[in-house]
Amino acid sequence: MDRWEQMNDEQLVVLAQSGDAQAFNRLASRWEGSLYGFVRRTLGNEDDARDVCQEALLKAYQNIQRLREGAKFKSWIHHIALNLCRDRFRSTKVRGRAVSIDDTNPEDLEREAPTGAVPRAADGDAEADSLRGLLDQLLGELPEEQKTCLLLREYHGFNSEEISQITGAPAATVRTRIFYGLKSVRQAVERRGLDLADFR
């Protein structure tokens, strides 16, 4: 284990703020996977996700001096990325590509959605793609606020307070959004006739 791996985010942020570029590099490599996953699921597009991740890391690098609590680096970088995603959603170009509840015809979703069984393929990559596609569809039916809170809670290990810092919504509102997001997911699963036992 090298010395970087032994350091927590707070220590690495202190080093990065003192001008140690390698410390920032380590922070970036530590969280880029989570960041990319969150952005890709939010935007629903790999190319845009890469761009946003790159931009978020660059912004974090340029503004690292402003981060007062180093332990919150992960929340901070996700907050930056979420703001960039919101900027993208405002642009017509991305709005056309991302699946959003506002501009998706529910009938189209029903038609495209798999029904009857959770996709399971023999090939690992194909199975991952199938699962990813189904998840994108289920989450794509949620309003953005619910989707964001659910993603951060379910797949990125943030608690309600941290999600509150990232999204700017009160923690109670975050929990309410998660509640309704989960209910919507459950309903979407039922509409598709998927068997819950397949997910266990």
């Binding site: 570029a21 390698q22 920032f24 590099n25 970036a28 490599s29 880029e32 996977g33 990319y36 996953g37 890709r40 699921r41 790999e46 996700a49 890469r50 991740c53 790159q54 931009e55 890391l57 660059l58 690098y61 340029q62 959770v118 991952a128 699962l131 990813r132 189904l134 998840l135 289920l138 659910l150 809670r153 379910e154 797949y155 608690n159 309600s160 109670a172 929990r175 309410t176 998660i178 509640f179 989960l182 209910k183 997911v185 459950r186 699963v189 998927l194 819950l196 397949d198 997910f199 266990r200």
Partner: protein, 307 residues
């Protein structure tokens, strides 16, 4: 249960689902779930949805994603071989595995020189491609001779043969007008007897003649060097992109500052204009007061209610 209380309970359901409640609160909530079937139904609904989401968890880590800030990227050594680069031909005694043989050094040296001529990696790659094309068209050949290489174009030169038992570094060489297909192509497994007491000894076993395997080695080295160049090119291209993004940010900041300054200037202009108008208005008022209104007061004004 009123709507506000219901919302509060739903919040707590989520907190319970994700272990965000303290022990006491969690216990109380579980007891409430036992008592309240409606709440229990909602709990079942969200916990099953969570099971679905957990079942769909897929690692989203990108392959080869790299943070592209040039200042903080560690520069790779220029001559670093590309991992996984193709290496063809059998491994033999006398030829280095890491491509650091004297022949490889010459070739690498030439390519390093091309790369160091001031152009970027794109120009270097283009130069290599042009060179390879020109050499291919001109019937270029390489022959290892005593003390170095012989490079040739066009027709095959006079073949140089090493007599058996002769001095491998020079000595007596017999001249023979052999065909191009015979030139320097020897059995890689050992010395090949051509005629009588004349033998060709390949480079791989310490002789002077370049064999197919040697050429395969050169090809492999060439491939590695060109691969390294493309690797460098991609890295530099990414760095340039990062530079462009940084420049755009800088430009945006500058424009923002300019816009702010412009706006401030316009506000200042409006302020000055308002001030001037106020001064003029004050002056007009003073004029009016001095000219006609000095002895008039509101008491002198006619009362519209009086007949």
């Amino acid at each position: 249960m009123d709507e506000r209380t219901l919302e509060l309970m739903r919040e707590k359901l989520v907190a319970l689902l994700y272990d965000e409640l303290g022990d006491g609160e969690a216990r109380a909530m579980r007891e409430e779930l036992e008592r309240n079937p409606a709440l229990r139904a909602e709990w079942d609904e969200i916990s099953s949805a969570r099971t679905v989401l957990s079942g769909l968890a897929v690692d989203e880590a990108p392959s080869g994603f790299e943070f592209l800030t040039p200042e903080i990227s560690e520069p790779a050594p220029a001559s670093e071989p590309v991992p996984g680069a193709r290496r063809t031909g059998p491994s033999r005694a006398g030829s280095s595995q890491d491509g650091s043989s004297p022949e490889g050094g010459v070739l690498t040296g030439i390519l390093t020189w091309i790369r160091g001529t001031g152009g970027g990696p794109v120009w270097a790659a283009a130069a290599v491609l042009v060179m390879v094309a020109v050499l291919g068209l001109s019937g270029f050949r390489v022959q290892k001779i005593a003390g170095g290489f012989a490079l040739g174009f066009g027709d095959a030169p006079v073949e140089t043969l090493l007599p058996t038992g002769g001095d491998p570094t020079g000595g007596t060489h017999a001249a023979n007008s052999g065909s191009a297909t015979d030139l320097g192509i020897a059995d890689p497994a050992g010395t090949r007897s051509l005629a009588g007491d004349v033998q060709l000894t390949p480079v791989s076993v310490g002789g002077d003649y370049l064999t197919r395997d040697d050429m395969v080695d050169y090809e492999s080295q060439m491939f590695q060097v060109v691969s390294a160049m493309f690797h460098d090119y991609e890295k530099y291209r990414d760095q340039e992109l990062a530079g462009i993004i940084r420049m755009m940010y800088s430009e945006m900041n500058t424009r923002q500052d300019q816009n702010y300054d412009d706006l401030r200037g316009r506000i200042e202009e409006v302020n000055v204009g308002l001030m001037l108008e106020k001064n003029e208005s004050d002056a007009r008022y003073m004029d009016l007061m001095q000219s006609g209104g000095e002895n008039r007061s509101l008491d002198d004004a006619p009362n519209p209610n009086e007949e």
